[in-house]
Each structure stands twice: as C-alpha cells, then as structure tokens.
C-alpha cells in the first residue's frame, strides 16, 4: 500500500520539465523585470530631481536621509532583477540543445543582458558568471568585475543577434513583441548600442566599435520597437501605478522643480501630457484620485530637500490650498504639479524598459562624437518626435498625447547644435526617461553623460553630503550571506557606499 506514494506526493498544481512550456518563463521574466515601482522611485527618481516628495519613505531619495525601511530598500532592485534572471537560467537549461528553441534562446539572452545591465550599472561588480546556480550547488556566487561583465555581455549580444532567425518560430509568450523576431533583432542591436555608449568615459574605443556595429546591424526603427510591457489591469502588474494609486504617495509625490523648470524653459509640449495640479482646495481635494488641471502654464515643480513643514520656506512656494471645510485641512503641496493620475495610476499602463527614442539619442551622441552611426541631427529629431509619440503608448487608450503640430514645432525649435549636442541629447534623455518613469536608466545616463547638472540637496543627517549619489550600496544581507565574495568585491571596487563610482563612471 505504498505503491501510490509517488502520486500522493505530487503537487496537483505544479508540473514538471516535460510538460512546461519554456516560453512562459520568458514572459514571466519580462513582467518581473519591468515592474520597478519602489525599486526606482524611492531613490533614483529623486536623486535625478525628476520627482520630489516630503513623505517619510521618500526621505531616502529626496533628502539623502534614510526614511521608512531605509537601507532595507537597497535590496529591491537586486532582488527583483535576480528573480527575473533565475527564470532565464532555468529556461535556458530546459531548452539546451533543442534547435526548435533557437530564437527563444537568443531572445532570452538579450533579455538577460538587459537585466544584468541594470544590476551592474546600479551596484557595480555583481554576481554574474556564477549567478543563479544554486541548483548546481553554488550558494555563494563570486562577484564579477563590471569590466568583465560588460565584455561578456557584448559578446553575448553579438552571438544572440546573429542567432536570431526570422524564418524560424519566435518566442510564443512574448510580452515585448508578440514573438516578432525581427523586432528582437533590432532590440538586440539597440542594446549593443546602449552597452557600448555606457563605456564612453572609460573605454571610448570599445564604445565606438560597438556603437558602429550596432548601427550597422540595425537598431530600433520606430516606436513600435519600444521594449515595454503593457500591464494587465486585472493582475496589478504595474507597480508604478500601484505606487501612484497609494494615497500617501499620490498625495505627496510631485514632479521635481529641476525637471519642470527645464521643460518650461523649453516650452516642452509634453508638460500637459504628464503633469497636473489638483482641482479644488484642501487635503480632501489633494487626495482625490481624479483628473487634475493640466494647463501647462499652471504647472510648477516642487524643489527637493524640503519637509511638509519647511516647504513653506522654499523659494517660490506657491502656498497651500486652504481647507475646503471645517473638517478639512489645508494642503501644503496642493499647488505643486503631480504626475497625471490618469496616465501614471492607470493599472493598464506601460512599463517602459527601452524606447526607440532613447536608442536614437544614443546614435545621435555617437554620431556627434564623430563615429559612423549616421547623421546626429536626424537621429536627434527622430528621438524628439519618438519621445513625444511614445507617451501616447503609455496607456491602452492614449491619454498622454502630444499633437503632431506641437511636436513639429518643438522639433523645429530645437535643432541639434554641434556645440551643445551632448548637453541637448542627454537632457532630452533625462526628460524622456523621467516621463516614462524609467529612473534606473535616468540615473545611469546621468552618471555617464554628466547631464543634467544637478545641485545636491542639503539636509541634516544625510548618508552622503555635498554630492549626488553615484551608486546604490549592496543589499545589507550580502555580508552575512556571501561575505567572502562581497569583501573581495568591495576590496576591488571601493567602499560599499553611495559615493563609490562604478567602473564605467570613473
């Protein structure tokens, strides 16, 4: 009577390698990787002065002071990205030596590069060659040097883009491109471009080689190539909108003064698409999750580094909105611009990872540096147009739209000037990645390019003073869980803090 023990000890709701469709791990890895939310909103968005907040857990990014779970947040991007990565490791093991999965394998490699790049850009040296191998007994993966990681990732992209074959079946569960292999190929080359361009400070020769190789291979060609995942409103898969729907965040997260001032100075037609001010007076109105007033001229960004009390002392403080009734209270932040509710709190909005516009900006920069990647001004104009049109893809029903006429006017008014090309290109990179809530990328590109030029926030009790952070410290658990390798990495890279620069940021 122990015959059926195996059947009894089989989980009825799980299946095995024989039955599972490995494609489904690709889609899971995509959705996991794309949901950033607090991973980037608590630190990076405010370091970049794109957003500002007076609320407790936003002290981390807004004031360089720990708030909420403080150092506990270091692990958010780490854990998310590795949890996306392990799916690819498992899937690639399942499809090993199976020719019918050639394209899936190549797509998975490209996705894996995207994931690893986010990790290493944020933390520097990270487990890479030995990552995700617990199943084969490696519980303490070594940290690879960022230089080696980049070299390997570029080699992987070379191989993967070459292996993609549009005549064969594509991935069947693909949240980026519905299995369109040619789009994956263009994404692969655009990734090669992005990796190459990260190295402009530390290794311009390699940067040039790969930027040119990518351009020759064929990068993204329209906003239809944007790498993004549309969240499923039925499954709460947009963590950015989850944050913006949270009353405390919605009430107190505002667009940053640095960003809005810059966009206003450029008469940027995207302002009414992304920003609004609460309609009505008092706290109740400020918390009311409905559309606000998005008139461009009314928009005003909030400066970083203030508390709910001290904001009244901020230069240009527009004043609180008065209480609407006897039981209401004034709203100190009520007159600052917030991310538009209908755009950013839409549960079906896009999780942007990498857009055609960003790719074009990188080509424009490469060309401006005199590399053989086409005409800089054309790429720049393409990028401006694409960045504005991309916003319409933020929601299933476009809400954040910019009219073709406004786009044309703006493009015409902002031709690329060779003397200021790098500044123009990278300020636009800052604006577009801010508008798409892609702050991991904003932070990386700022360190690479030096634009925008930011004035660090001053506040008592900061974890870093006199400069804007340049790195995220490792999760605090590393010392305990992978101590020897952690120490080796710190030895090589420098102190595990917010100031140490990653290899390509030297």
């Amino acid at each position: 009577c122990t015959k059926n023990f195996e059947a009894i000890n089989t989980d009825p709701n799980k299946t095995t390698g024989n039955l599972i469709n490995p494609n489904y791990f690709l889609s899971q890895s995509q959705i996991t990787f794309s949901q950033t939310g607090y991973d980037q909103l608590l630190f990076q968005s405010e370091w970049m002065q794109s957003l500002a907040s007076t609320f407790s857990y936003y002290y981390n990014g807004d004031k360089y002071v720990f708030g909420g779970a403080g150092s506990g947040y270091f692990s958010y991007p780490w854990n998310r990205t590795y949890s996306a990565l392990t799916l690819i490791v498992e899937m690639q093991a399942l499809i090993k030596d199976k020719p019918e999965y050639t394209n899936l394998n190549a797509c998975a490699t490209i996705l894996r590069v995207m994931e690893v790049q986010r990790l290493t850009d944020l933390y520097g040296d990270v487990p890479y060659s030995e990552a995700g191998l617990a199943k084969s007994g490696n519980f303490t993966p070594k940290y690879d040097a960022q230089q080696a990681i980049y070299a390997d990732m570029l080699a992987q992209l070379d191989a993967a883009t070459a292996a993609l074959d549009a005549s064969k079946v594509g991935p069947t569960a693909d949240l980026f491109y519905k299995g369109d292999v040619s789009k994956w190929k263009r994404l692969g080359y655009s990734m090669m471009l992005k990796l190459g361009m990260r190295l402009v400070k530390v290794d311009p020769a390699t940067a040039k080689t790969y930027a040119e190789k990518a351009f020759a291979g064929g990068t993204m060609s329209s906003i239809a190539d944007d790498a993004k995942v549309m969240a499923d409103p039925a499954n709460a898969t947009s963590s950015n909108s989850d944050v913006m729907r949270t009353p405390d965040d919605f009430r107190e997260v505002r667009w940053g003064k640095t960003l809005i001032d810059y966009m206003k100075s450029k008469n940027d037609p995207r302002i009414p698409a992304i920003a609004e001010i609460a309609i009505g007076n008092g706290l109740a109105a400020n918390q009311n999750q409905t559309a606000g007033d998005n008139t461009a001229s009314l928009q005003q960004g909030m400066p970083n580094g203030y508390t709910i009390s001290s904001i009244a002392n901020a230069p240009g403080y527009p004043g609180a909105t008065p209480a609407a009734s006897a039981t209401d209270a004034p709203a100190p932040l009520g007159k600052y611009s917030r991310p538009r509710f209908q755009v950013y709190a839409d549960r079906g909005s896009a999780n942007y990872i990498y857009t055609y516009g960003e790719s074009e900006l990188l080509l424009a920069e490469a060309a401006s540096r005199g590399w053989n990647t086409g005409v800089a001004a054309t790429h720049f104009a393409n990028a401006l147009t694409a960045d504005m049109k991309t916003l319409a893809g933020y929601n299933a029903t476009p809400i954040a739209t910019v009219s073709d006429a406004a786009i044309a006017t703006y493009v015409a008014a902002n031709p690329l000037n060779p003397a200021t090309a790098l500044q123009q290109i990278n300020l636009e990179y800052w604006v577009t990645t801010s508008a798409t809530f892609n702050y991991n990328e904003t932070f990386a590109n700022w360190r690479r390019s030096g634009f925008p030029v930011l004035t660090p926030v001053v506040f008592p009790g900061q974890y870093i003073t006199g400069q804007v952070p340049r790195r995220m410290p490792y999760p605090t658990s590393q010392l305990q869980q992978n101590g020897a390798n952690y120490n080796a990495a710190v030895q090589r890279q420098g102190a595990d803090n917010f100031a140490t620069r990653v290899w390509w940021d030297k």
Partner: protein, 1022 residues
C-alpha cells in the same frame, strides 16, 4: 397523603473510625448513600449520625479507600480505613490509548482533569493548561476569542518547535494553524485545538518525553497531549445536567506613559509646539512631542477644540466583553451500553467592539457491548464556529489596536465613529496605513466560519481475558470559509476597497488496528504485556480563493460580484496530501511487582520522502522502572520508584518538498506566464531525529498525603531541516538543508500533598510544579553556522536591527538587537549632530522562559471549595514594539528627560572627545528609537494569580422539592493579579502570534484582560 419519611425507621448511629494502625482518624466524612445527609468524625475519630436503620453509610477520606457499610439495624459502627495509596493502582491512558498502570511507567506523564479547565474557561482550552503541568509552557497571540495557543513541551524542542500532537479519544486530530499575524500585521485565524469545548473534556494527559510519545513516531517530536472526552457510565440512571457560565473580560491598561507633554512636534523653527490647526494635529499624528499640557484649547481630529490636558483613555475604546457558555448534557448507561450527549453554545465577545466568536458543539459518545466479547464505541464531536471580525494584530493596516498610541491629551472618543460625513475613513495621522481604530473595528471584516466533525469508531474484541483485538477509524474533517473585506473609504486604498474569500477543507483520516496480549510467562515472576499494531494515516488539505481586482465597482456593496475582474485559484500554500503507513509494537516485561522493562518501536513509511532516500524511519524507545518500595517495604512509603528511559523519534516531513516543480502564474493580457518556487528543493531530505534520555524518581508517602515526582531529561536533535536563506543572486531565496541541531536539558519537579485535613471537614490540597529547561542551539547550517532569522517587529522590519534568531551556541529563539555604537572602551559614540548611532547586533536572551511552573491550591470545607492557581515564568526576554513606539512617539517616561533643555547624550564623539551637542528631545529620542533597539528588550518574567474558583454546592437536602439533585455555583476569575513583573508599559505575556518564531515579540495586540465570571451547574433528579 402518606408521609414517606414515616415509613422508614431512623436511628442514632454512633461509631469510631480508625486508620490502618488503629489510631483514631479525624475528619472522615460519612454520608448516607443516596441522600445528602452526613457528618464528619471528630478529633477522636468519633461520629454520631441520624440515619435510616436500613441505610448504607459511605466513609470517605482523602488518601484512603472509600468504604460502604450497611447499617443493618446497628446503632454502633466502627470502621477501619485502609490507605487508598492513591496513584499506586491508578490507571493512566498512554500512547495509542493503551491504559497502563501508572506505577509501572518508565517515563513521566501528567494528567489534568476536566474540572480544572471548565469552570473558568478559555475559548481555547489549551490556554487553560498554563501553569498546571511541569514541562509545559503556553503562550497566546492576544488576538481575542478563538485565538491560537502556543504550547511547548520541554522547551524549544527543535527549530520548528510547535504545538504537540493532540490525540482525541485515541485518534490524532488536526491542529492546523489557519493564519497568524507577522510583523506586517494580519489576524490570528485560530488553530484546531481551539474548537474543543472544555465542558466535554474528561481529562487531558500530557506525554512530555519522547519515550512516552515514541509510539506516535513521526509526530511525537513536540510531545503529545491525549484528550479523553466524557462518556456515560454503565449502570447509571438517565441523567440531565445543565451548566451555564458567564464571564467578563475586562481590558486592563498596562501602560505607564508620561502625562506631562501633549501632542505636537517640532515646528519649522525647531521648537516643540502643540498643534494650532487641524492640519497640524493630523501631521503630528499621535506624537507627544508638544509642549507641557496647559489646559488650553487645541484643535483635534474631529474638527473641534479640546483641552490640552491629559485624558489617556485609549483603554475606553475597548469594552468589557461578556462571554456566555451554556451546556446541556444527557447521559446514562445500562448493563450493556452507555451514552452521553452534550449540546453546548458559546458566545464569546471580544474586547474589540464588533468582534465575537460563536461556537456550537455537539458531542456524542456511545458504547455498546454487542456480545460478551465485542464492544463497539462511537464518538462524534460536531463543531459549528462562526467568528466575526478577528482583530488585526501587530503592525498593519486594519489593526484597531493602533489606538494604544495616542498622545496623552488625545481623547480616543475624537476618533469615533471612524468615518467622515462622506463615508470615508477619518484618518488621524498623515500615515494612512495607521487605520482609525473605529474604522478598523466597525468597517473592516475578517470573518471565519468553520464546520468540523471529529469522529471515531472503534470495536474491541476480547478473545480471552488476556487477548484482545481492537480496530479503530478516526475521521476529522473541517470546512472553513474565510472572508476578508477592506471596505470602501479605507484611507490607504486608492480604490473602493476589496474583498477576498477563501474556502478550505482539511481532513485527517486514521485507520488503526491493535492486538494486545497480557500473559504470565512464569507464574508470579514474569508477566508480559504485548501490543502490536498498524496505522494508516491520510491527511489532506485543499482550498480555493477568490479575490476582487480593481476595487468595488459600487461603493459599500461588499460582494464578489461587485468587481470588474477577479483573481482566483487554488490556495497553493495550503494544499497538501500525504500518507504515512506505520507498524508498531510495545512490550512490557514485569518481574514480580518491582521491575518493569518496556520497549516500543514504530516504523513509519512516508509518502513525503523520496524512495531513493530510504523506505522510512524507525522510532524506538526503551524504558525501565524499579519500584523499590515493593522490594523493601518501608514505613510510610507507599511508592518509591526510579525510572530511566531512552527514545529516538523523528518529525513529520512536508509534502512536495523534494522535487522540482513549475507553476503557471496569471496570464498577462492573455499571454501565459510560468515560474517556480524560490525555495530550492532538496531531493535527499529526511526528517530529523530527536534522541532523549530521561530519568526520574517518584515517591508517595502516607496514603499519598505527600508525593513528588522528579524528572531529569536531556534531548538533542540531529539533521534538523533548515530553510536556509540564500541570496537572490543564487537564483533562489531559500533552500532546505538538514544540518541543524538543538539541545535541551532540564528538570521537572512536581510535589503534591494534603498538609491539612481537619476534623471539621476542612482540607487543603496544594501542588506545585517547577520546570527548568536549558536550551542551546548546537548547530545551524553546519558550515558557517549562520544565524537563522525568525521573527522581527515592524518598526525595524526591513533592516533587521531587532530580530529573533537561532544563534549557534545560544538558547533559541535569541533576541538580537542593535546596540548603541560604542568605542573600544564601551562609551556610547554620538555623531556630529549629537545623535546615537547604530552599533552591533547583540544577543539579548531567549524569548522562551528558562524557569516556569505553577502552584495550585484546593481547599474544601463541607460544601465549599476554593481553588487558586499561581503561575510563574522567569528568564525570558520580550522584544517590545510598544516600547519602541512609545519612545519614538514621546509617550515613554524615558523621553521626559531633556524636554525643556535638550538632550546631551552621555558619551563621546567620533574623535573621542566628550559629546556636548544638545539636541531637541524629539530629534534625540526618535533617533534613539530608530537606531538603537537594545532599549526595547524587556525582562518577561512574571508571577501571576492565574485562576481562582470559589464554589458552593447545594445538596439534595437543601433542594428537596426542586427538580435538582444538586446545584454547584462557582465564582471564577482568571488573570486577576500580576504579583510580579518587570515590564513598565506592557503585560509581559503580550504577543501577537502563536508561532514560535514570533514568541516574545509584542506590539499592537489586544490589551491584557482580567476575567471575572460565574459558573452554575445544575444536576437534575433522575
């Protein structure tokens, strides 16, 4: 009419009662059988009594065998009483329901009678065991009626120590924990033992050691508690009994917060200020960093101005909660059959408004002697339980117990009714996750419904007077429904609220067979008692859930139909299916009456262990007892026994833990997704083993007027399965490894007696128990001996500065808390702003007491009885979130220092010079609360008056002319007096979870309750 009394002849009967040595015996009670008349012998052992000349007199006295003597027309009767040597021939139920002679047992067992549990009631009967049994400690979650119990036998047995196995009438019952609170909040959804009606319990027998429980093999590790429910008695008339009980739980404010400074925070100028507007009242939350309270009028959250004066009335949010239990019992028995049927209704209100537990229990026990050799027994216990609004605990949204942290001038009544005129939550701080307590209590819902049948059918066939065969089938099935609603208007929700419903069925099916033979191998020298048997156990848990997505479409309409979309599926974390096939034997060899050697063995075949690892696990035990008082009779010594035993058991293996599985996740816009557990499977896992050696000395003197039982034990686990942490960079977050080892050594001591027994019928029967357990975690993961993190409290949840953990070399669970940053000489180091900084995580002690026990006293005087229980606990620590929050919020008296002048921390700067920076009190103490957690670790020792019962029984004489044969009235009380404690702001027993990982972590649960009540028992005349 005929006066019946006139038909019998009454006579004055005189006599004398002597003991076995012929000495007069005072205080013997003499009753006339069948009536309530009676008397007591005087100091010379003499008595005088008026009784019918055909009556039968019953002589009874503690420590002596009762005697019945027919008057038979005599007027002088002398009686010699023989010591009952109580316990000497006492039969106890042991593992598998086998009755054995207690005097021959080679291990310790303790029995608690139902009487001790059912006068002053707990809704979870396991909580009533507190203080009554050496070796047993009990904790609860302070979650209101029907909350779970944490029962630990002999310390932290293993890393996964938990409740013992409960076996009811010989059949193991399910005790699955239905959901507990963690640091992020949640409610206690109850366990299995909480369903049992105390009124139905005849006795509970605690098998503490592994030798006692080894026959349960894989489930014996945490010990076993055998529950025997009441049954009818043969040859008894039809009896009707009605018991009614009313108790009140009165909330007690254990806080001793400061009453000087009121609500407020530092203003923009950095000066402590009271709120001057509604907005400031809201932004300062419940922070008491304002100015000295001066009675001026300040705005409060209700939009009105209130005096800036202390009110500190948070406790008024709670109510004095009545509970009612009514039980009717019908019983009887003939020559061949017995039955007992009880119907019981419990309505237990929680101290949190709008929350209650309603439980109806139907218990039937019937037996029939089918032939002279075949006996059949049926037990069925049907429970219908309905629990409304189980309280949120710990941190977290929807927890009404946030009310405990109001600034001293904040009137809790200003938070009522919890909603604004437009139906939204009236938030009272700028953190919307701090739910208004009235809103949490009146609008949130955490409801459970359970219907459960615990049944057993057994048949016993006696082949001869020394050989029987018994077959038994036990079935325990629970159907649970749980509904959680976050209502429309909830402050932290950006939508109209949501709801979730989960349904679950948990079953446990046991079939066992037992053959027993008792035979004398060598007449008058060697006797053998041999049992062999087998068991098949099937346990299964299944469930599904549905939850709404995107918020209710129509506000305030709480239905699963009211959503645009729903998420649903199997409750995968609950679902298990396993089977264990077992074979076992037990053999007792006794040489004459003084030497007994016993051995048991059980072989378990698990469905949960891979075949490649081996077919199963053997759990052997061997025990011996030497009853030296039988070999050498000693004066006054009724029993003298030494015993020694050894056993090895294992634990139960988890289902599905040894292979790689993939699961489908929700599709994203129609695109399928799949993943797998972040728990790395281990194909080679085997349940861990526990070895234990136990030695004991048991003695009884003078007819059990004094007795003690001393037990020493030493136990150690090997190859404990650890859910070791991995970093995500390995691809997984956890893995199972079998390298843990835990050691417990201890002493258990019980002493009881009857020191006073007076001629007037007064007697005093005290008993005292004492337990000392020394726990040590010998090894964790075997390589680096990393700590295994257990629980943590919310204030530092994410960065782990105050946690409980298993630390190799120290008793577990050990509290690790961040100390001040200190220099090499131990001085506190302050930063350049004069604030204390975070230093090393240091071990602060175990959350499990090292010493515990109880003192129980029973006094009897004629128809009066008085019982009280004092229990105590020493050597455990508490990680107090209340302490942390009260420092952070300026409520703790500690924060009074430096309010006016600023705080200059005593210590040094980074460069070693004395710190001279003066910091505003709020800034200083909030930094202290955020950075330093050793200050939140408290001594959890206490001595408490746990229970008092004071009763009077009206006898038949008094009740002549009524339908009652007796009425017993008891005034009862529980938790009336904390005789000693060291915590200033909490009850030392506070906690929010019964899970051992959260033992000793407190905060945000219901306040301590004193319970008062009245129990009335009516026995109807036949």
């Amino acid at each position: 009419t005929v006066n019946v009394d006139k038909l019998v002849n009454f006579a004055v009967i005189k006599g004398k009662v002597v003991d076995e040595n012929g000495a007069p015996l005072p205080g013997v009670s003499i009753s006339v059988k069948g009536t309530s008349g009676g008397t007591v012998t005087d100091a010379s052992g003499n008595f005088t009594l008026n009784a019918p000349d055909n009556a039968t007199l019953v002589f009874s006295f503690i420590g002596y065998q009762s005697q019945e003597v027919a008057v038979g027309g005599r007027t002088t009767i002398s009686v010699k009483m023989n010591p009952s040597a109580k316990g000497l021939n006492e039969v106890v139920v042991t593992a598998l329901g086998i009755s054995k002679d207690q005097k021959k047992l080679g291990y310790a067992v303790s029995t608690v009678n139902g009487d001790a549990l059912n006068k002053a009631k707990e809704t979870n009967v396991a909580l009533s065991l507190q203080g009554r049994v050496a070796g047993l400690s009990v904790g609860s979650s302070n979650g209101g009626p029907g909350s779970s119990a944490r029962v630990l036998l002999r310390g932290l047995t293993s890393f996964t120590a938990g409740s013992p196995l409960y076996v009811i009438n010989g059949v193991p019952m399910d005790n699955t924990q239905r959901g507990a609170s963690g640091e992020w909040g949640g409610a206690d959804y109850g366990d299995g033992i909480s369903n049992i009606n105390p009124d139905d319990i005849e006795s509970m027998t605690v098998l503490k050691g592994q030798s006692a429980s080894a026959l349960y093999g894989s489930r014996a590790v945490n010990g076993v508690i055998l529950i025997t429910t009441k049954s009818g008695k043969k040859n008894s008339a039809f009896g009707v009994e009605f018991n009614t009980n009313i108790q009140f739980d009165k909330p007690v404010d254990n806080t001793d917060f400061q009453q000087v400074y009121g609500q407020g925070i530092l203003n923009a100028a950095g000066v402590a200020a009271k709120p001057t507007s509604l907005n400031e009242a809201r932004n300062s939350g419940s922070l008491a960093w304002g100015t000295k309270m001066d009675g001026s009028m300040v705005p409060q959250i209700d939009g009105k101005d209130h005096p800036y004066s202390p009110v500190s009335n948070y406790i008024d949010f709670y109510r004095t909660a009545p509970s009612f239990t009514n039980t009717a019992v019908f019983s009887g028995g003939g020559k061949e059959s017995t039955f007992r049927l009880s119907l019981s209704d419990l309505r237990a209100n929680s101290m949190v408004p709008n929350s209650y537990l309603d439980r109806k229990t139907f218990n039937f026990n019937g037996s029939q002697q089918v032939t002279s050799k075949l006996n059949v027994n049926v037990v069925a216990n049907y429970v219908l339980e309905n629990s409304k609004n189980r309280s949120g605990l710990s941190d977290g949204p929807g927890n009404p117990n946030n009310v405990q942290f109001l600034a001293p001038n904040q009137d809790q009544a200003t938070l009522a009714p919890g909603v604004t005129p437009d139906g939204k939550e009236l938030t009272f701080t700028d953190d919307s996750y701090v739910t208004n307590p009235y809103f949490a209590a009146n609008y949130f819902q955490k409801n459970t419904q359970r219907s459960r049948l615990i049944s057993a059918l057994s048949a016993k066939y006696d082949f001869t007077n020394w050989l029987y065969l018994q077959g038994r089938v036990g079935y325990d099935v629970s159907n649970d429904k749980r509904i959680d609603i976050e209502p429309t208007g909830t402050g932290y929700r950006g939508d109209n609220g949501t709801m979730r419903q989960a349904n679950a069925q948990i079953t446990e099916f046991n079939t066992d067979i037992l053959l027993n033979a008792k035979h004398s191998l060598v007449k008058d020298l060697l006797n053998v008692d041999f049992t062999a048997g087998g068991n098949i156990r099937k346990s299964n848990a299944d469930g599904t859930f549905i939850e709404g997505q995107g918020g209710f479409i129509i506000p305030y309409f709480y239905s699963l139909t009211n959503f645009g979309s729903r998420n649903s599926g199997p409750s995968t974390d609950l679902i298990t299916n396993k089977q264990v096939n077992s074979a076992y034997y037990s053999a007792d060899f006794s040489i004459k009456d003084y030497l007994v050697l016993s051995t048991t063995g059980r072989y378990d075949y698990y469905s949960t262990i891979a075949k490649s690892v081996g077919p199963g696990i053997f759990s052997p035990s061997v025990s011996g007892s030497f009853i030296f008082s039988e070999l050498h009779k000693m004066d006054g010594v009724d029993l003298g026994k030494v015993r020694l035993s050894f056993a090895q058991t294992s634990n139960d293996a988890a289902a599905y833990s040894n292979s790689v599985y993939y699961n489908l996740n929700n599709a994203i816009n129609g695109v399928p997704t799949a993943g797998f557990s972040s728990q790395l499977p281990n194909l080679f896992l085997k349940p861990f083993t526990l070895k234990e050696v136990e030695a004991g000395l048991e003695m009884k003197f003078w007819g059990d007027r004094l007795g003690f039982d001393l037990t020493l034990f030493s136990r150690k686990t090997n190859n404990e399965i650890i859910n070791g942490n991995l970093d995500w960079s390995t691809g997984y977050t956890n893995r199972y490894i079998g390298t843990g080892s835990t050691q417990n050594k201890g002493i258990e001591f019980e002493i009881h007696g009857t020191p006073v027994r007076s001629t007037s019928g007064f007697s005093w029967t005290p008993s005292f128990n004492f337990t000392y357990v020394k726990n040590k975690i010998l090894q964790t993961d075997g390589v680096t001996n990393d700590n295994i993190n257990f629980g943590r409290f919310r204030p530092s949840a994410a960065n782990g500065l105050a946690i409980t953990a298993l630390v190799a070399g120290l008793p577990g669970p050990q509290i690790l808390a961040a100390d001040y940053k200190r220099d090499a000489s131990g001085n506190i180091v302050f930063d350049s702003n004069g604030l204390p900084q975070t230093g090393n995580l240091i071990p602060m002690g175990s959350t499990i007491p090292k010493i515990y026990g109880g003192l129980n006293n029973t006094f009897n005087y004629k128809q009066f009885n008085l019982g009280f229980l004092v229990d105590y606990r020493f050597g455990n620590k508490v990680l107090s979130a209340t302490e942390q929050a009260s420092i952070f919020r300026g409520l703790n008296k500690l924060t009074l220092n430096g309010r006016e002048t600023g705080v200059v921390g005593v210590g040094v700067t980074e460069s070693g010079t004395p710190n001279t920076v003066s910091v505003p009190a709020q800034t200083y103490y909030q930094a202290l609360a955020r950075n330093v957690y050793t200050v939140d670790v408290l001594d959890g020792s206490f001595i408490k008056l746990r229970q008092i019962t004071f009763g009077y029984t009206f006898n038949a004489a008094f009740l002549r002319g009524t339908p009652f044969s007796s009425i017993g009235v008891s005034a009862v009380g529980r938790n009336l007096w904390t005789i000693m404690k060291h915590t200033k702001n909490i009850d030392p027993e506070s906690g929010f979870s019964n899970d051992v990982r959260y033992a000793g972590i407190e905060g945000g649960s219901l306040p301590f309750a004193r319970t008062y009540g009245l129990n009335v028992n009516f026995k109807f005349k036949n």
